[in-house]
């Protein structure tokens, strides 16, 4: 990937993000934030690439290990707690 291509993708994704997020109901801003937080744990990809490389140095392995651990905590707790929250939003008459 070259720089221009990356910037192009970044620009488009930012505008898509701004438009989509603007439409999110304020009711759901808290779950939205935990969801985007879980999604930004996509840095797990980088952490795996660093840790799993055949020429990874000891330092890379240790830092990668800590990175995967913390980011995996985010993935698991982020999606689960968002689901727990959105489940609570009930329409009238829709009691548990």
């Amino acid at each position: 990937m070259n720089l221009e291509m990356g910037l192009f993708v970044f620009m488009l994704a930012t505008f898509v993000g701004l438009e989509i997020i603007r439409k999110v109901s304020p009711l759901l801003h808290t779950p939205l934030m935990s969801l985007t937080n879980a999604i930004s744990a996509i840095s797990v990809v980088g952490a795996i690439l660093i840790t799993g490389a055949s020429n990874a140095t000891m330092l890379s392995k240790v830092l990668g290990f800590v990175a995967i651990t913390s980011v995996f905590t985010n993935i698991v707790s982020g999606f689960l707690i968002t689901d727990r929250m959105v489940k609570m939003f009930k329409r009238p008459g829709e009691k548990k």
Binding site: P26, N37, S40, A56, F79
Partner: protein, 472 residues
């Protein structure tokens, strides 16, 4: 295989976008969560099965150090599950701050590892990748300590009051300039590895210094800004690794944090710079010495009688309600009044609670139907026709001074027009001013009745009066 991975990443990016799109309303929000989780699983699987080899080619066979990866995932998962299920809803802001910290730490550590790796192997990175890498590391480390500080303030282990000292902004600026200077030097001469730990140390320190002058009342904005930074550091990682999926996901997170922080700033009539460098809450400590003005107070019986006689009630909840754990009692009151044919609505100010949208989650948890929760702009026109406005645990967001008193520190802040209701009732512990230390003139109006007591206890008392009247 290398091709296949790219296709998997495209699907994954599309799922992330759909995931956020489906968050636009409660009915589709669960689908949104599942789309996001599926996208994440695809991203991880795709990365593993298309792992790049050193001499070109890609495949799962190129993955080394399986034990490190697997153990890290197991530990992360084992920590994550209890966090998700045990965390009470009042503590969600702290959890969010903690996960910003974790995410940012991961990005920063990956950046650090990459930096040393390329140096150790004498494989210099192209210039723009190095730039991305230092940005990733800088943002990552400062968001890490900044989020930990925010979490400490939310959890109240750190003082809520802004911590200020002389020339604070100058000190911060100089530190940041040094960090930037080091970053530039590292990009130009990456072999100066001895500078890297200093750069890391400054980034960490800067995160702390950035948050300590910000008061507890501004935490909703700060969390949103940190959310944005965490996203941008993931995005920078995408540039450093040449991975478009990271760029997309990071940009989505970054723009989400940006929009939420703009909404929060607007709701408090503040600018970004003012939140970050203004040390709010410090200025108005002198308003305390005011003459005692008379207020009207009422008993639970009287409050119950007024509520019973009304035909429309708007409840204005604030964070004080959550502190008193009164959500479920409010639900009982809501049910009781609704059964009598009284129209009950909830007016939610954007900064009610400790993070954007927090109050909605707290009320939803107490089984209050979400179509009864109204945003400020949608409900303000209804206050003049409303019989009773019942304010519970909210203060500054109901202060009419924000509309007309130019000397008030909150002048210009959008408020809920509670004072326009026919009768106003305020449940409050005492006449002590609220968090920002500003006297609320709403309390001295002729139509206002102060209900002194703990929110939960007082609502319980009101409820005791209500069924008795039905029987009679």
């Amino acid at each position: 295989m290398a091709q296949l991975v790219q296709y998997i990443y495209i699907v994954s990016a599309a799922l992330f976008i759909l995931s956020l799109k489906w968050m636009n309303r409660p009915a589709s929000s669960r689908r949104g969560v599942w789309a996001g989780a599926t996208g994440m699983v695809l991203a991880v699987v795709g990365t593993l099965i298309g792992f790049p080899g050193l001499l070109g080619g890609a495949g799962i066979g190129n993955v080394h150090n399986w034990a490190w990866i697997a153990v890290a995932m197991i530990i992360g998962g084992a920590v994550g599950v209890p966090i998700a299920y045990i965390m009470p809803m009042t503590a969600v802001p702290q959890r969010t701050a903690l996960s910003h910290a974790c995410g940012a730490l991961a990005a920063a550590l990956v950046g650090t590892a990459e930096f040393y790796q390329s140096n150790a192997l004498h494989e210099p990175l192209p210039g723009f990748k190095l730039v991305a890498l230092v940005i990733e590391t800088l943002l990552g480390f400062l968001t890490f300590t900044g989020s930990l500080m925010a979490m400490g303030k939310l959890q109240e282990v750190l003082p809520q009051r802004p911590i200020t000292y002389r020339n604070q902004n100058t000190v911060n600026f100089v530190l940041f300039a040094i960090a930037l200077g080091l970053a530039v030097r590292l990009v130009l001469v990456p072999s100066d590895t001895f500078l890297f730990p200093i750069f890391v140390g400054l980034s960490l320190l800067f995160g702390v210094l950035l948050i300590i002058p910000i008061g507890g009342a501004d935490m909703p904005t700060v969390i949103a800004i940190l959310n944005s930074y965490a996203g941008l550091s993931a995005c920078a990682m995408g540039f450093a690794l040449g991975n478009n999926l990271l760029v997309v996901a990071g940009a989505l997170d970054g723009s989400s944090g940006l929009i939420l922080s703009i909404i929060m700033c607007r709701a408090m009539n503040r600018s970004f710079t003012n939140v970050l460098f203004g040390a709010f809450g410090q200025i108005q400590t002198k308003t305390a010495a005011k003459e005692q003005r008379p207020v009207r107070s009422a008993s639970p019986e009287e409050a119950a009688a007024i509520l019973e006689a009304s035909s429309s009630v708007i409840i204005v909840p604030g964070y004080g309600l959550a502190v008193a754990q009164a959500q479920h009692k409010i639900r009982e009151l809501f049910d009781n009044l609704t059964r009598r044919g009284i129209d009950v609505k909830f007016a939610i100010h954007p900064v009610a609670g400790r993070m954007p949208g927090h109050m909605n989650v707290l009320l939803a948890e107490a089984d209050i139907p979400y179509d009864r929760l109204y945003e400020m702009d949608d409900i303000n026109s209804e206050f003049p026709q409303c019989d009773v406005a019942l304010v519970i645990g909210a203060n500054d967001v109901t202060n009419p001074a924000a509309r007309h008193d130019k000397t008030s520190p909150i002048y210009g802040m959008p408020i809920l027009d509670v004072d326009k209701a026919h009768t106003v009732m305020v449940i409050k512990r005492s006449m002590n001013p609220g968090f920002a230390g500003i006297d609320n003139e709403l309390y001295y109006m002729d139509k206002t009745l102060m209900l002194f007591g703990d929110a939960k206890a007082f609502v319980t008392e009101i409820l005791k009066e209500l069924p008795a009247r039905v029987a009679a």
